[in-house]
Symmetry: D3
Subunit: 249 residues, 6 copies
């Protein structure tokens, strides 16, 4: 099975981190097709950046569909463009925030999310509510780390993240931690070892759930709001995004 | 005051309907600046189309900001890109679904939304939940009309809409109707007269609430997730969307 | 257009503050008709006082209707008697808590309310829930100021309020502040200047939203629970409140 | 123990029905003190009537407190003025809607409410939400009976109510019925016998729960929003409602 | 009337505390039949222990039904097996957590629960949600006391509980306290005296509400999910739990 | 990896259906260890049967743990004893209702559950609420089929189920179907083919999600309410359920 893992931001170095996390958990028969957005912001830390990155992400989904990918993972914790991507995909499409939160529900009755900036904390809180996770997510915590600082070996990112996780366990009564940024994927094992509780990276979770869904023979429902986009003209600089040719009859 | 009213789809004929609805209610000192998305789908009836249209809409917001507009209205009932638009705007930004639902709360304890297709009905239900309107919105009803059929004088759109509204009053126990498509703006008066209850068009509501907010001296909060986008590189075909130059110091 | 702004408590000095706040934002064609409750408590800081003040407020609404007012504002942050007032009004009726919270939703994804006593804090929390604002109101904060202290120039009311607002921004992650008492209306500009975020006074917000609704041709729905009261006898000392004569055919 | 049962409307005949229902279930040591509102509407079928009736009801609570009553029951299904009454009472105060819904939770996982008019149905739905009963109340059904029709032996009230209850059991999946009007109190046994499921009259439920709470030594909390009203002047025709003299030190 | 009060754990000493609390509030005509689980854990502090204790509790309910008990109280704050017990009972069955929370709603608009260990705190939070009490329960607080420590006169249990309650009043804005363990029943009066607010022991509350429901002629609904278990074979060591013979025709 | 799939009812024929469904989707390296409850009811259609079956299920979990199973699936749609099982397991434990609902969230924005009897419908609705799935589950539908009828080739079970699913698609606006009984596992493919939308069997979904979680290195959190049961005496006929010896140091 071929699973496309899309980094919606345009930083290839972060794609490498993401792809490694995906490949580390992929089943023997799974091929990870890593893709980097070919345009848009180098990191995603707000609604505007999500909106722009969504376009680049959707183009990758179209490429992945054309290439016969069986499933798609959107590897940014804001899950940008998730429902739009589902419309144009035959197979399952998973966001990493969504996947991580669902995974946490299976192994703990309460979890905390540890993310980067305050503005992404607020966005993560909106996702918690969208996904019906208020009963399970006990708190979202920011670390005041920028996404790209996570890649800087000289930063104290790891220590700050572990400190935030420890406060989560002590103060929130949580039994598991969700790491709230694709760029934290390579820290999962270290954080889990430090804390002694399950720590969930959404990239890995999304890959495994994608494998599970494909293994179940389940694709995105084509009845209702996730049906393929209707055939209609698209104008101007965005005309190439018209879905006409790409869709099944 | 200058209020930019943006039609996120690329159909100029629909912009004319929207602009007329806006101007019909604008206060003497309000100038309505109507804008049509310069690219993207000719109508918006799904998540994918919303995502593509958002880019074109955001470009119009940037133009409107540069032109000194005091407020912006996103004239599509799905409120595409609303939070992204707020990030790049100084003044208030209103979605027409949001504006219509808030207006309904002031004049009735329960309302129904009458919209076009089933897939847009599902999206409208998601907005109801996002906006905390479950206690007030008693039902969303589809009419099986496509957005562009609303413009066809030969269609039976008006009769279908009135019939759906009547069922809403009878079966839902609603006291007001929200018309769930910008393309219905010119039907508001006729539907209200037929029903004898308040009927709300989101375009008009958004314009009046925009005037109200500007009159209160209120703009979009620049603290938290609606702060201006961070300065960072944007790559590829989307590089022109980088907000760097456009933002206040 | 004539907008009646009713101070439900019987303190004329507070009415002056409220009327000034209303007139400061009213559009050129709007006439503000300020009214003070002719009976009941001098300030409203609890459910019992709200219940008594409601009677006096309803009598003012009846006077306002008889005088041809186009809309009514209930200028007490508990929104006492709001639904009852709507039953006897043709035009829109707005509570200032409701108006302020709706305004906040248009310009921020989260807000805090700063109010007076702990008991009014609890009542404000109940309003937040009634209005479906749990997703947007991040916290209600009390200042331990009595309502009438706000009028005392020797009190440190302003400093206490600004301090509470600053804690709200720091700890709650809010992007805007709602001032939770009609008596704070004259502090709005100063608090906004001190904080650098939008600060919302419900009196001003309600006036502008009333103008907006009247401008849209929208009045209170007369279908359902807000229909005019049924014709029936009222006995005893409250007989003069029987709505019989006042109602449209 | 002395339990004051207050009919908030001014119809003595309905008070007789209510008092009989209360006395039929009262424990040997319980004295039922029935009181009729000395002013206000003869029946309560809307927000406005509730607001007016609240004043008369509160006066009865004050009389009951002065007479040493240990608990108070507000015998109108809208629970008008419940929190205001609690502020001025030492002992427990129960609304009959509240009592009936809580009783239903103990004996069924889902219940339906059968009430009178559509406008009272909407108000009952608001109570369901206020009391956190959405998970248990599966539906509120109107019978299109006016409150005072219930007293008319020539009406087909009983048959209409039983028919609505039967639909509730069939269509709503409910295990119990709550009768949504104090005026239905004398029909409880007949309806229960016809249906074969528990049928709850709020008057009886409130009396028994009042006995239970007094037996537990529990009165209304005087900390927070239910503390006695603050001492302050009341003006005009409502001055006699000032709580000053009546309150404990 | 005969009310069976079942201690689901197998500690007879705790049953004595529970029975004393029940008898202290029982009405003159009420006979308290105290029962101790004949098997299972000596205290209940987790989901697993609840599951095992449920079996022993259900056997006592069957004995109580056979002995003609009119109602049953499950005297463990987790309300283990509540719905299962209701299926096999004719009369009402009350959990003490449920009863305490409902009692709190009648006398305060907000309450806090003070319980034993952190793991029982989490379980109590789940009950709060199950019972629709999120609007009323402002916080659940743990004291880090084990259930059986409550019986040790040398422990500082009482002081720790009072300290937790005082924090609840100061920080949570609650008007009443629910004691979150059957083993705290004998501390109720002392805690209430120390705090000056209503303090609710679920054992006493459940007994009084059971009396109330029986007095109303209400038993568990036998329509829907609480109907008697279906007649079918039970195998193996659990065959004696088959409900066949015990059920009414 | 070894995945234990436990049929909590004592019908070996149903275990065969469940095991076949599990093995049909298991990955090459996964061994399915099917277990039948060694006691208790032959089918589970109510709270009481769930409580009894939980004991037998927990004993199988203990056997599975002792045998080194990496994960456990509770193959009954009521998810009986799920949290209790998690306490005594090192690896993940999945309920099939939970797994099916989570799977549905990944591929549709709304789903319907089609189950057996009305009483199991009510229980499924309770699960929907417990799992925070109200936003996604649009309706639970009963078919009036008993669990064991599903095994009878002469019954019209398949036709009834497909008919209920078709109504779900038409009336509920759902994009996917969840089959609400382990005994329906062998009908999944046929129903999916008839409907043309994704149809989810919880047994298969739970097996694949168990594989995913084990592949992620995630087990049940041992911090908080899912920690191993505390060491304490168990008395009477249930003494063998004491977890003392079985737990890790």
């Amino acid at each position: 099975m071929r699973i496309q893992v899309i980094n919606p931001n345009s930083s290839a170095s972060m794609t490498a981190t993401i792809a490694a996390a995906a490949r580390a958990v992929a089943a023997p028969g799974s091929e990870i097709i890593a893709a980097t957005a070919r345009g848009g912001p180098v990191s995603i830390e707000g609604h505007y950046e999500e909106a722009v990155a969504t376009i680049a992400m959707l183009e990758e989904v179209r490429r992945g569909e054309a290439a016969g990918c069986d499933a798609h993972v959107i590897a940014c914790f804001g899950d940008p463009g998730l429902l739009a991507a589902r419309e144009i995909a035959r197979g399952p499409v998973l966001g990493i925030a969504e996947a991580a939160m669902h995974a946490a529900c299976f192994i703990a009755t309460g979890f905390s999310i540890v993310t980067t900036l305050t503005r992404t904390r607020i966005i993560a809180e909106q996702l918690v509510r969208n996904y019906g996770m208020e009963h399970a997510c006990r708190r979202v915590r920011a670390t005041d780390l920028a996404v790209l600082e996570l890649e800087d070996p000289a930063s104290d990112a790891r220590a700050k993240i572990i400190a935030a996780c420890e406060r989560a366990l002590d103060e929130d009564g949580s039994g598991a931690i969700v790491l709230g940024c694709a760029g934290m994927a390579d820290l999962t094992a270290a954080v889990a070892q430090a804390l002694g509780v399950p720590v969930i990276d959404g990239v890995a979770a999304a890959v495994k759930f994608a494998e599970a869904l494909v293994g179940l023979g389940l694709g995105t429902s084509k009845r209702g709001d996730l049906a393929y986009p209707l055939a209609k003209p698209y104008r101007g600089g965005l005309a190439h995004l018209a879905p006409l040719a790409a869709l099944p009859a």
